[in-house]
Amino acid sequence: MTNPANAKTKFFQSRAFKLIYPVIATLLFGIYPVLYFYKKNVSLVLLSSFLRILGIYLVLIILVYGISLWLNHGKAIKAANAASVFMLFMNTYGILFRFVEEKDLFMAKHYTLLPLYLFIAIWLAWQVTHLKTQPSRMLWRGIVLIFGALTLFNTFSILPKEIEKSRVLQTEYTDVEAAATTDGDKYPDIYYLVFDEFSGFKAMRGYWHTAEVEPFKEFLLEKGFFVAEDVLSSGTSTLHQMSIRLNYTEYPDIPGQTDNYYQLIADNAAFKFAKSKGYTSVVFDEISWQYPTMPTINADVLYEIDPSDNSDFGMIFDDFGVLITDNTMFYALSQLYQLEDFGYRPHRNMIMLTVDRLGNMGDIPKPRIVYSHLMIPHRPYLYTKTGEMVDSEYYRDWDYYEGYWVYSLGVIAQMVNNILEDADPANPPVIILQSDHGARLHSADYPFQDFTPILFAMYLPGYDISTIPQNVNPVNTFPIVFNHYLGADIPLQEPLEHPLEGD
């Protein structure tokens, strides 16, 4: 019989083990950026996104180590050190490229910078293999110790947040009982349509010189909308703003409150109140696209963006994957992996579905409260003002924001027309057009005050709109509607005056 202790010793002394165990240094060193960025974004990124990019990295590291081992004739420690040096260059190419491009030091082209960087990476990796055995072992141990400690630290930081995330995602919300009322037929449908990062008219005129502002404002006024031009958001975070407005309670945006905001949006006061009045709640949700860890909004009918719509194209990287990959040598291939036209198909489909469905909701019991939150004109800037598709290279380029903003006007006009055409003239709907915050363009010539002016227009049949100030506080959105149409008595709050300080 074989002694287990002997077998164990034999295994640790085997050639296979001696070849394999040094890879631990390259693994700890190579995957550190993935772990670091996941820790920083743990409340916003799904574990599955992290595991997907981690899997790709593991394959890459094993491949690099394998080649290094082969080139070093099986000298495993030296191979691991060389592979780690290569991974250092692999993980920083994108950062260097963007730095050179931004600082405009010299011409940044992948076809020149990448060969240079690769050459230096391979040359230095080769130089490292010339270290003598003792310094080589010291270097290897140093990498294992430092990056092992960092990995442990990050893992222990991630774990509690992961548990909390899982708890929030699994929260179940209780339904509100509808009060027995005969007024249900009289209540108007309420459409709360939010367009993410849609800058206010004044900012569009002032900074972007957008000629299309006036015709759109005229369109809204002709339809009978109240249009306010001096409305400000009290912050620039979507989650914070939506949690405030859906719960008509103002509070400052405090870091670390993401889970709290999630719950306040998912189980919000506006829907609860409307449900108590017999409303059917309908949600067209694209917030969860940007915040995939957000729990499902508690609604009777829910339309969510369907990321699996991309499956036929085998999309490799999601947003988290792109965040990591853009720092690496793969950045040179970004046009191949960046979410091109097909990558944003679910988003395009969601916009089309929402526009179409808003004028075609006969199958959903009335009265309805509809909350649509579309990520337009938020990046990716998919279309120009004339409806041409933007090249994926510029999906995140602020130069294309204005064009997409103008494109969004067409989407909004179509939505408004569809709703009004489908409406019962005897009981017209309430329509609220709003944005969460303005354009958050971090540029020296873009005034910080322009981050907060928002879109604010309300279609309020039978309401004396002259009583609403031009600088109405958006937290009053639902109180204005509920007080007038549903007999609520929610106190209104004072207007905001540039609550943000420049940073």
């Binding site: 050179v100 491009e101 405009d104 030091l105 010299f106 011409m107 940044a108 082209k109 076809y111 020149t112 060969p115 240079l116 050459f119 040359w123 000629a211 090249d391 290279e393 510029y394 380029d397 130069d399």
Partner: protein, 196 residues
């Protein structure tokens, strides 16, 4: 003294021993040199053999003196991708005040530096605002807009004054106009600026 072991004749290099390099180092130096040569010539090769759009055109003859006969405005420049090539799209409007029909002219945007002129063919586009702004001209200005695509690689780093050149398609008569707009080519960008 016994030199028995070294009795075989030795090869003597003409290079002093201090300056001699080992074969391995020599390979590295050659590779570095090759890489350096590649880095220097690669942009030229790209411009000559791979870029197909946004290049200047060659016009025979010299540029006439600048006259005050062309009204123009350059609205903006934006980087864009056309058929996989990164180009700068410059857009604006212009018209020759003494023309009877803008369609009679080939219109060029000229980028002028102290050393040379780069001439780019423009594409006419529709502009509804220009006829409203200039009602006093008895000229159809509906198509007075223009687009021009420029590959930044086609220009050397430097400061270029934006100018317009109108060439009558039939007579070949040329009209030239300098503007207060400049395009600055940096290593990685083209920037449109207004010089007061």
């Amino acid at each position: 003294m016994d030199f028995g072991a070294h009795a075989a004749p030795m090869k003597h290099s003409v290079i002093p021993k201090k300056l001699q390099v080992r074969p391995r180092t020599r390979v590295q130096l050659i590779l570095f040199a090759l890489l350096g040569i590649y880095l220097i010539i690669a942009p030229t090769i790209e411009l000559k053999y791979f870029l197909t759009q946004g290049k200047p055109v060659e016009l025979p003859g010299s540029m006439p003196e600048s006259e005050d006969l062309i009204n123009s405005g350059v609205d903006g420049s934006k980087e864009t991708v056309i058929e996989g090539e990164k180009l700068y799209k410059i857009n604006g409007w212009s018209f020759l005040t003494v023309a009877t029909d803008l369609a009679d002219y080939d219109i060029y945007l000229v980028l002028r530096s102290e050393k040379r002129d780069y001439v780019f063919q423009t594409t006419p586009t529709g502009r509804r605002d220009i006829p409203r702004v200039f009602p006093e001209f008895n000229l159809d200005l509906k198509n007075s807009g223009f687009n021009v695509y420029i590959a930044k690689e086609a220009l050397r780093v430097g400061d270029y004054q934006v100018c317009f050149l109108y060439i009558n398609k039939e007579t070949g008569q040329r009209y030239f106009q300098e503007t207060d707009r400049h395009i600055i080519r940096t290593p990685n960008r083209l920037e449109l600026v207004k010089i007061q």
